[in-house]
C-alpha cells in the first residue's frame, strides 16, 4: 500500500500535462502543447467531453517527431506559437511541455519570454508527465499564470484592495467531474454571506479579467484536502493574502454550515464588511430548505421495504472520500466501510486526512487506504464482505466490480464513460440533495 510511484492499474488521474484542462477551463484561454503527438489525445480521452473553447483537437501542438527529439523543438514551437495568433482568437496562451521536451531540454521559458516581450499574454509551464500528476501540476499551472501574467497587471490591482472579494481555490477543473457546478455553488453561497468570489474557472468566472484582479482579493479560501494548497501558499507570500482552509468538500447541511461559518468568521477577522446577522440568516435558510427535503425523504429511507444500500465503499480523491463518508453516515444513514483515496496524496498530507475522516464518528473506525493503484483497491473490496446491500461510489472502472459484487453503483469520479455531468454540483446544501437523488435513482432503477 501507499507506494507513490509504483505500478498503477486503472488510472484515476493523469500526468502533469493533464493540467492543460485547467487552461481549457479559463474562458478564451488556449493551451499550446510542446509535446509528443498523443498527449492531447490522451488527456481528451481521459476526461471526455472536455474540449471547451480551444482544448482537444483545437489545441495547437508541436507533435514531436524524431527530428525534434534529436535536434530540439524550439524552432518548431516558435513557428506554432506565431501561427496560433493568426488562426485562433484567444486571450491567454499557456505553453505546456510534455516528456519529450522535458528530456531533450528545450528552453521553452526563454522562447515564451520573446513573445511576452512583444506584449503577448503568454505563459510557460513545465509539465513533463514523469514529473508530477495532474493533481499536483494544477498548482504549477495556476502559479505560473499568476507569476507570468497576473503580475503584469499589479499596478492597476493593488493587493487586498477589495475588502469583500476572495479568491476561491477549490475543485480541479475536469478532474472533479462536478467542478463547474461546485464552483458556481460556492460562488452563490459566498455571495449569500456578502462576499464576492473569484472562481477563476468556468462560465461563472470573469475570464482573464478576473485573473488580473486576483491581487485585489482581501483573502483566499481553500477547499481541498491537499491539492491546490501551493496556490494558496503562493498567494499568501506574493500578495500577503491569508487563507482559510476547509479540508474536504462541504456536501450536505452539516458540512456546508461548517464551511460557511468558517468562511464568515474568517472574513470578519480579515476586515470584510459583512452584515453578520444577514449572513447567519442566509445560512439558516439553506439549512431549513435542506431539512424540508430530508423530512420528506426520511419516510422513504426508513420504510422502503424492498431493500436499500446500508454501507458504501468510495474510491475517489481525498476531498470526496472524506466528504461523502461524513455526509452519507450522518445525513443519509449509509455506513462508510473501507474507503480508498486514489488521488496519489503525497505522504505529508495523509495524516491530516486520516484525522479528518476519523472525526466523522466517535463510535466507529472507518478503514482508509491511500491507494493510487486502484486495481489493488478493488482487490481489497473483493476480499471484504459486510452484511446488507452495498454501494460503490467511484469511476467507470468500478462499474464492473459493483456488478461482480452485486452492489449498487454510482459513477462520480473520472474517468467514466457511464455518466454525463454538465453543471451538476455535489457541493453545498443542494449538492447533498443531488447526491441523494443520484444514489436512489440508481437504486430504484434496479426494481423492474
Amino acid at each position: 500500500m501507499n507506494q507513490i510511484g509504483g505500478i498503477i492499474e486503472q488510472g484515476r488521474y493523469t500526468c502533469a500535462i493533464g493540467a492543460l484542462q485547467s487552461v481549457v477551463a479559463i474562458p478564451k484561454a488556449v493551451p499550446i502543447l510542446h509535446s509528443g503527438p498523443g498527449c492531447g489525445d490522451m488527456i481528451q480521452g481521459f476526461f471526455e467531453r472536455s474540449t471547451g473553447y480551444a482544448g482537444g483537437s483545437t489545441s495547437p501542438c508541436t507533435n514531436f517527431s524524431e527530428k525534434e527529439v534529436v535536434f530540439g523543438g524550439i524552432d518548431r514551437l516558435r513557428q506554432i506559437i506565431r501561427n496560433t495568433y493568426k488562426v485562433l482568437d484567444t486571450e491567454l496562451q499557456v505553453v505546456l511541455t510534455g516528456c519529450t521536451a522535458g528530456i531533450v531540454g528545450d528552453d521553452v521559458d526563454s522562447l515564451v519570454q520573446e513573445f511576452a516581450d512583444e506584449g503577448k499574454p503568454i505563459v510557460s509551464v513545465e509539465t513533463a508527465g514523469f514529473k508530477a500528476t495532474n493533481f499536483e501540476s494544477h498548482s504549477l499551472v495556476v502559479n505560473a499564470i499568476i507569476d507570468q501574467y497576473v503580475s503584469l497587471f499589479e499596478d492597476a490591482n493593488e493587493p487586498k484592495a477589495d475588502k469583500n472579494t476572495v479568491n476561491l481555490l477549490a475543485s480541479l477543473p475536469y478532474q472533479d467531474p462536478f467542478w463547474k457546478g461546485n464552483l458556481f455553488e460556492y460562488k452563490r453561497l459566498l455571495a449569500g454571506l456578502g462576499l464576492k468570489a473569484n472562481v477563476l474557472f468556468g462560465p461563472e468566472s470573469g475570464g482573464v479579467k478576473e485573473w488580473q484582479c486576483i491581487p485585489r482579493a482581501s483573502f483566499n479560501i481553500l477547499v481541498s484536502p491537499w491539492y491546490g494548497k501551493p496556490i494558496a501558499d503562493h498567494l499568501k507570500q506574493k500578495y500577503g493574502q491569508d487563507y482559510t482552509w476547509f479540508p474536504h468538500i462541504p456536501i450536505g447541511a452539516n458540512e456546508t454550515e461548517a464551511f460557511l461559518n468558517q468562511a464568515l468568521q474568517f472574513a470578519l477577522t480579515q476586515g470584510a464588511e459583512i452584515d453578520e446577522a444577514k449572513a447567519k440568516a442566509f445560512i439558516k435558510h439553506g439549512t431549513d430548505a435542506y431539512y424540508e427535503e430530508i423530512d420528506n425523504l426520511a419516510t422513504f429511507l426508513l420504510e422502503f421495504r424492498y431493500g436499500l444500500p446500508n454501507h458504501t465503499h468510495i474510491l475517489h480523491d481525498a476531498g470526496y472520500v472524506v466528504a461523502l463518508s461524513k455526509f452519507l453516515l450522518h445525513e443519509v444513514g449509509i455506513v462508510p466501510k473501507e474507503q480508498f483515496v486514489t488521488d496519489g496524496t503525497p505522504k505529508k498530507y495523509q495524516e491530516a486526512i486520516r484525522a479528518d475522516l476519523a472525526g466523522t464518528s466517535d463510535k466507529r473506525e472507518i478503514p482508509l487506504y491511500f491507494e493510487p493503484d486502484a486495481g489493488k483497491a478493488q482487490e481489497i473490496i473483493r476480499g471484504v464482505s459486510h452484511s446488507g446491500r452495498g454501494l460503490i461510489i467511484g469511476s467507470g472502472w468500478d462499474k464492473e466490480l459493483a456488478r461482480e459484487k452485486d452492489y449498487d453503483f454510482l459513477s462520480a469520479a473520472v474517468p467514466t464513460p457511464y455518466r454525463l455531468v454538465m453543471t451538476t454540483n455535489y457541493a453545498g446544501f443542494t449538492g447533498g440533495l443531488r447526491v441523494i437523488e443520484d444514489i436512489y435513482h440508481q437504486v430504484l432503477d434496479t426494481y423492474r
Binding site: 510511484g5 505500478i7 498503477i8 492499474e9 486503472q10 488510472g11 493523469t14 500526468c15 502533469a16 500535462i17 493533464g18 488556449v30 502543447l33 509528443g36 503527438p37 498523443g38 498527449c39 492531447g40 490522451m42 488527456i43 481528451q44 480521452g45 481521459f46 474540449t51 473553447y53 480551444a54 482537444g56 483537437s57 483545437t58 489545441s59 495547437p60 508541436t62 507533435n63 514531436f64 517527431s65 524524431e66 525534434e68 527529439v69 513557428q79 506554432i80 501561427n83 493568426k86 488562426v87 485562433l88 482568437d89 484567444t90 510534455g98 516528456c99 519529450t100 528530456i103 508527465g129 514523469f130 500528476t133 482487490e379 467507470g396 464492473e400 466490480l401 474517468p415 464513460p417 457511464y418
Partner: protein, 491 residues
C-alpha cells in the same frame, strides 16, 4: 532492406515502409496517379494535437480476451485506455462473448528518477506483478516517448520475463514521436503479435478465414457460410490461442486496409496465408470484385457468383430506391485513410456527389504491394474524381476552413471529434462507428437510410449553428485550407 522483418524488435515506420504521407491538397485522381510515381510528404507550419501510435497499439491488444497490457511510461500515456475497457464490454454481445471480463490495463508510472536511472527494473517488476495479479495468457508491453528517449531496453526485459514466466511477453514499440503516421501503432502491435504469438501453421484449414478488423458487428459469419468457412477475427475479441493459429487460415480479408495492411502482408509472406486481392467491399462494383476475389482465393468461384446474384436480387431494388432520393445531394468526408475511401465509395454508389474530403493520411501502396487493394484508385475508377481532396493529418483547422467554404449537404465522419464542426456550421453530420455497417450490398441500404435520416432530422444542427462558439479567426476562415501546408501561401 526487406519491409517485413520479424527478426527485428520494432516495425519499420509507415512513412518509410510504404511511403505514407500526412499532407496533400488537390484532387483524388491526381493523388492516385502521383502515388504511382512517388509521393513527397508536406509539412505544416501550424499544427494541432494529433493521436499517437501508443493508443492504436493499445486498442489492438487490450481487446484480446485473455491478455494484459502494460504501458511503460508516465501514468498519462495510459490515460485514454479506459475507453477500450468500455468498448470491450459494450460490444461483446456483437461477438458472442457472453461474460466479458474486466480489462487488465496498467501503467509502470515512470517518475523523474526513472528517467535518470532507467526504468528497466521497474518494468521487469511490473511484468512479474501483472502476471501474478492477472494470470494472463500473454502480456503486452507498450512503449512511450519517455521510455523510448531514456533508452530502456524493453525488448531484453520482455524476453527475460517471458523465460521466467513461461507466457509470451510481447514488446510493442509504439513511441508517439517515432512516426508521423499514428496508424504505425497498429503495425507495431501486429509486429509484436506476429513475432511472439503467431505460430508456424500445422495445417491449412479451408474452413477458417482471418478478418483483420476493429470491434464491428459479426457480418462475416453469414457471408462466409456459403463458402463453408467461418471468420477468425483479429485481434479484438480474439484469444492468445486463436491468434496463435491464425497462421492456419485459408485466407485473410481486411475490414480496413489502413488497419490491416501490415498484418495481412505478414500473414501472407511469413505464414503462407494469402490475402484476398481486393479492397474491402464498399459500393456495388467493389463488392462484386471482393466476392469474386474471395471465391477465387478459395477455389469457389461459382459460389461467389451465386452469392452475388442472390444478394443483388434482394438489395439492388432497395439501393435504386435510395439512389433516387439521394441523387443531387452533396457530401464531405473526413476519416482515416481507407475507411474514408470506403465512405467515398458509398457516396458514389448512392448518387451523392462528394464535394471534398479531409483524409487523415495516405498510403500510396499497401504492404501487400497489390494495386487491387488501392481503394482510392477503385473509387476514382468506379465513380469518378473527388475534388478538394485534402490529406489533413486530422488537423481540425483545415477541416473547419474547408467545410466552411464548401458547405456540403452532409458531413460523413469517422473518428471522434470531427462531427462537431459540421454541426457547428449547421451541416447535418453522421458518424457510424461500426466499420462493417456500410459493407456489401446490404450496407448501402443501411448507410443510405442513415444518410436520409440525418438529412431529414437537421433541426438540432440548425439550432446549434445559431449559438456555436467559434475560436477560429475571421482571417483564418478567409485563407485557403492549405495555407500552412508546404507550398501554401503561409509556408
Amino acid at each position: 532492406m526487406p519491409k517485413i522483418n520479424l527478426s527485428l524488435p520494432a516495425v519499420q515506420i509507415r512513412e518509410i515502409r510504404i511511403n505514407s504521407i500526412t499532407g496533400y491538397q488537390g484532387n483524388a485522381e491526381e493523388l492516385v496517379s502521383a502515388s504511382a510515381c512517388g509521393l513527397k510528404d508536406k509539412n505544416r507550419s501550424f499544427s494541432q494535437c494529433l493521436g499517437c501510435a501508443t493508443s492504436k497499439a493499445a486498442c489492438m491488444t487490450i481487446l484480446i480476451q485473455d491478455g494484459a497490457v502494460i504501458s511503460h511510461g508516465p501514468v498519462g500515456c495510459a490515460s485514454c485506455l479506459h475507453e477500450f475497457a468500455f468498448t470491450y464490454r459494450v460490444n461483446s454481445p456483437l461477438r458472442g462473448v457472453d461474460n466479458p471480463t474486466q480489462r487488465k490495463i496498467y501503467s509502470t508510472n515512470l517518475q523523474e528518477k526513472d528517467t535518470v536511472y532507467g526504468g528497466n527494473v521497474k518494468l521487469a517488476n511490473s511484468i512479474r506483478e501483472v502476471s501474478e495479479r492477472t494470470g494472463a495468457n500473454a502480456i503486452f508491453v507498450l512503449t512511450t516517448c519517455a521510455a523510448g528517449i531514456i533508452g530502456d531496453d524493453v525488448e531484453s526485459v520482455c524476453d527475460e520475463a517471458e523465460e521466467e514466466l513461461g507466457i509470451p511477453v510481447v514488446a510493442i514499440f509504439c513511441e508517439g514521436f517515432r512516426s508521423k503516421v499514428w496508424t504505425t501503432g497498429f503495425d507495431a502491435a501486429y509486429h509484436g503479435i506476429a513475432r511472439k504469438l503467431i505460430a508456424k501453421p500445422r495445417e491449412r484449414r479451408a474452413d477458417v478465414i482471418n478478418i483483420i478488423n476493429f470491434w464491428g458487428s459479426d457480418v462475416f459469419k453469414d457471408w462466409f457460410a456459403p463458402f463453408g468457412a467461418a471468420p477468425n477475427y483479429i485481434t479484438p475479441y480474439s484469444t492468445v490461442n486463436s491468434l496463435k493459429y491464425s497462421s492456419e487460415a485459408v485466407a485473410t480479408v481486411q475490414a480496413c486496409s489502413t488497419l490491416g495492411s501490415y498484418l495481412g502482408a505478414v500473414l501472407e509472406q511469413e505464414f503462407g496465408v494469402p490475402e484476398i486481392p481486393s479492397a474491402p467491399p464498399y459500393g456495388i462494383a467493389q463488392t462484386d470484385r471482393w466476392f469474386r476475389a474471395l471465391g477465387k482465393t478459395l477455389g469457389k468461384e461459382e459460389i461467389a457468383e451465386h452469392v452475388i446474384a442472390e444478394k443483388k436480387a434482394e438489395f439492388l431494388p432497395k439501393i435504386d430506391a435510395l439512389r433516387k432520393k439521394l441523387t443531387g445531394k452533396t457530401a464531405y468526408v473526413t476519416a482515416g485513410a481507407a475507411h474514408g475511401h470506403a465512405l467515398l465509395d458509398i457516396l458514389g454508389e448512392l448518387g451523392i456527389s462528394a464535394s471534398g474530403a479531409a483524409i487523415f493520411h495516405h498510403d500510396p501502396l499497401y504492404d501487400s504491394g497489390r494495386a487491387e487493394n488501392d481503394q482510392l484508385a477503385q473509387r476514382v475508377g468506379d465513380y469518378g474524381n473527388v475534388p478538394n481532396f485534402n490529406v489533413c493529418n486530422k488537423q481540425e483547422f483545415e477541416l473547419v476552413n474547408a467545410l466552411n467554404k464548401i458547405r456540403p449537404d452532409i458531413l460523413l465522419a469517422r473518428h471522434g471529434g470531427m462531427t462537431l464542426w459540421g454541426a457547428k456550421l449547421g451541416i447535418p453530420s453522421l458518424l457510424i462507428g461500426d466499420e462493417h455497417y456500410g459493407m456489401g450490398y446490404e450496407g448501402l441500404v443501411g448507410y443510405g437510410g442513415r444518410i436520409l435520416e440525418t438529412l431529414e432530422n437537421n433541426e438540432f444542427v440548425k439550432n446549434l449553428e445559431k449559438h456555436a462558439v467559434n475560436p477560429y479567426t475571421k482571417w483564418w476562415l478567409e485563407q485557403e485550407p492549405h495555407y500552412f501546408l508546404q507550398g501554401g501561401a503561409g509556408k
